[in-house]
Symmetry: C2
DNA sequence: AAAAGTCTGTTCGGTAGCGCACATACAAGA
DNA sequence: TCTTGTATGTGCGCTACCGAACAGACTTTT
């Protein structure tokens, strides 16, 4: 479906923010990696062999409860990296990493990343700042879960996804969105129907197109903006490819 | 009310986990700091001049929405530190740090901590591991907000507080607990009444005593255990004072 | 003792979201 | 074409929680 052009590692914003001397040192170790929708990069509590730098794919960090219900706690796209627990020192996390939007990423062997991190150079500082931005996303998710309606959360989710995609089409069923948001599928159907009737989106069988992004931004709760501003503040300006 | 004995910095578990050579280097810079209930250590977005290592006090990390409603995203006691954004590189965070249980802490000038962090020694690794544990607490809060009842969350909150206190008495009104959990005061009244009728707790006007801790642990959701296990896994065993 | 303030208990109507059941619609394969 | 599977729409009763109002109980101050 997507153009099948091979992306550059520089399409990942963390990598593109590296000084070229650091980037070049890592360049030989990048492996292009194609990720399918629904693929699990890392199970809860499992050791990661690689870290992943998405280019036009999106990875969802999910937490699954014992009773099977789940909730998304953060989303990682080309602004970030999957696998922060490797350099934070814990090696594993209780959450899972699941591909939410298929596409390429570049991956790096865990050892290579740790070695680079321990050089205490730009990569370390970038990764720590990124981690702080991710923390903001997680805390904002906590607050949003507590106080905002399904419709507001759907808007937030759509905008977060949109920010990480090259176009304005998402391939995603309402059922899957419901899993991410931790709500009923019917709740998503209702909220999405409302947005469609308002002309903001258009969807059909696992395919959502955003028609009116400013309209979504008017309906979304403050959580989206807080997260976005914090990412912009903490991470360097996004260079063009 | 509390014994007015002066605590040792070693009552903070991060500090007590430091090799003595590193601890001694910092020792001259610790300032004993007394914190009153409700005191705001750091406003949202404000630059911190100090980091705080609680000894028997508890600090709550709260996020406040534009409409005034709020939610606790994590709690910091003698196992941790307030001010992670200083070494993560972002300098500020969108959340506030508010004293939830009065008592002492030791504080350190921001510059001193950053210098220590940049030595790339035990302190850095400890702080990063602690940060990962804190992330787990935040994500679990997000999931708990989504899926669990007020009563379960109250149990979780009580147990988290209890773990960070020297005794089993908390001085805390239902109103304040409601602010932390991001629910109505009446909801807390109801849940607390239930727990009291079950003989698990006893409370009166801003004073809660836990009578049956195992009983609370039976009612709490899995979120408490997940967070606790992750803290135990990531942070070194707790030495006795 | 009286007054004022604070904390907790209770009630009541309203609503968002849940769980379930089922209907419809579209897609892909035999 | 028929079947099977998947995605979406809808209705219904239920529950947890909300918002507001108010009453009682305890504390502190005067």
């Amino acid at each position: 479906m997507n153009k099948s052009t091979i992306p550059s590692p520089l399409q990942n914003q963390l990598l593109s923010a590296l000084p070229s001397i650091d980037f070049e040192r890592l360049a030989p170790h990048f492996e292009l990696f194609s990720m399918a929708l629904g693929e699990v990069l890392c199970e809860s509590g499992e050791l990661l062999n690689y870290v992943y730098f998405p280019t036009e794919s999106i990875v969802s960090l999910l937490y699954q409860l014992e009773d099977g219900s789940s909730a998304e706690i953060a989303v990682v796209g080309n602004e970030g990296i999957v696998g922060i627990s490797l350099f934070m020192g814990g090696e594993t996390t209780p959450s899972r990493a699941v591909v939410q939007s298929a596409g390429y990423s570049y991956r790096l062997k865990a050892q290579i990343l740790k070695k680079e991190f321990n050089r205490i150079g730009p990569m370390m500082h970038l990764l720590l700042r990124y981690t702080q931005a991710l923390i903001t996303q997680m805390t904002q998710t906590a607050v949003c879960n507590r106080h905002h309606s399904v419709e507001q959360q759907l808007c937030r989710w759509l905008l977060l996804s949109l920010d990480r995609l090259p176009d304005n089409d998402l391939r995603m069923t309402q059922e899957l969105i419901a899993n991410m948001l931790g709500v009923r599928r019917e709740g998503v159907t209702e909220a999405a129907g409302k947005l469609q009737r308002a002309g903001l989106i258009e969807y059909s069988r696992g395919h959502i197109k955003v028609l009116d992004r400013p309209g979504l931004e008017k309906r979304v709760c403050e959580c989206y903006k807080v997260v976005k501003l914090e990412f912009d503040r903490l991470l360097p300006a996004r260079p063009q490819f």
